[in-house]
């Protein structure tokens, strides 16, 4: 389905998931990436709260929300949770800092991103996450 470029339907589905997930676990940054050798676009959600003790709870909730959404553009093959200090998350935060307060997402082409060679990326603007506040935290 997603061997080509990232499409608007994926971005919109991801935005909804990120907002809903943020109610459960505070999201610092969220982005789609396709790694240079990867098979598909993957939605990465980065949170300070993702760690050894919470990763399974986080995945459980994200996957529960995906099932609830019943959207063909999101499934278990397209989701990845990372800590905000991971190289990928830090690279995304760094890119977002270049455009503070920007209401639009940032698209990146082929490049080195954190510790990974990517074919492309889309970083959600801060407003995508901020639209829904109120974290219940695990």
């Amino acid at each position: 389905m997603d061997q080509g470029p990232l499409v608007i339907e994926q971005i919109e589905a991801g935005a909804r998931l990120v907002r809903d997930f943020h109610s459960y676990m505070a999201v610092e940054v969220a982005f789609w990436i396709k790694t240079a050798e990867g098979y598909r676009w993957t939605l990465c959600i980065a949170s300070d709260q993702i760690n050894e003790k919470t990763w399974d709870l986080g995945y459980g909730e994200a996957l529960r929300l995906i099932q609830e959404m019943n959207n063909p553009y999101l499934d278990l093959f397209r989701i990845r949770l990372v800590n905000s200090t991971s190289p990928l998350a830090r690279a995304a935060l760094e890119e977002r800092r270049k455009f503070p307060g920007s209401p639009v997402g940032i698209r990146l082409g082929e490049q080195w991103f954190g510790d990974t060679a990517i074919e492309g990326a889309y970083i959600y603007p801060e407003s995508t996450i901020a639209e829904k506040e109120g974290v219940s935290a695990p």
Partner: protein, 98 residues
């Protein structure tokens, strides 16, 4: 997964539809699940079993290039557990369906 795919195809398909058969050389689990005719079963089973869902999601992140990446031991153990867990592991699930 490849074994399941080959088992499901008769020789006619394998030899006459070469390009289709060649797809099974991929390491992409999502594609292999589809080729093996197990996507519907996976959707039903992961909807009913949250731990299986989480395990599949973790294992699906593996790419061919991942073998060259150095990973912390905890990450490696998580992946190993997601594959081999006797109840909800990905390999356990595949074995049920081959």
């Amino acid at each position: 997964m490849r074994a399941r795919y080959v088992e499901n195809q008769n020789a006619d398909v394998i030899f006459r539809q070469k390009k289709f058969s060649e797809k099974c050389w991929t390491h992409d689990l999502e594609v292999l699940v589809g080729l093996a005719g197990l996507r519907a079963a996976l959707d039903v089973d992961t909807a009913a079993n949250q731990q299986l869902n989480v395990n599949w999601s973790l294992v699906a992140q593996w790419e061919e290039i991942s073998r060259y990446h150095s990973q912390p031991e905890a990450e490696a153990r998580k992946l190993f557990e997601a594959v081999t867990n006797p109840q909800d592991g990905v390999l356990t699930w595949i074995k049920v369906h081959w």
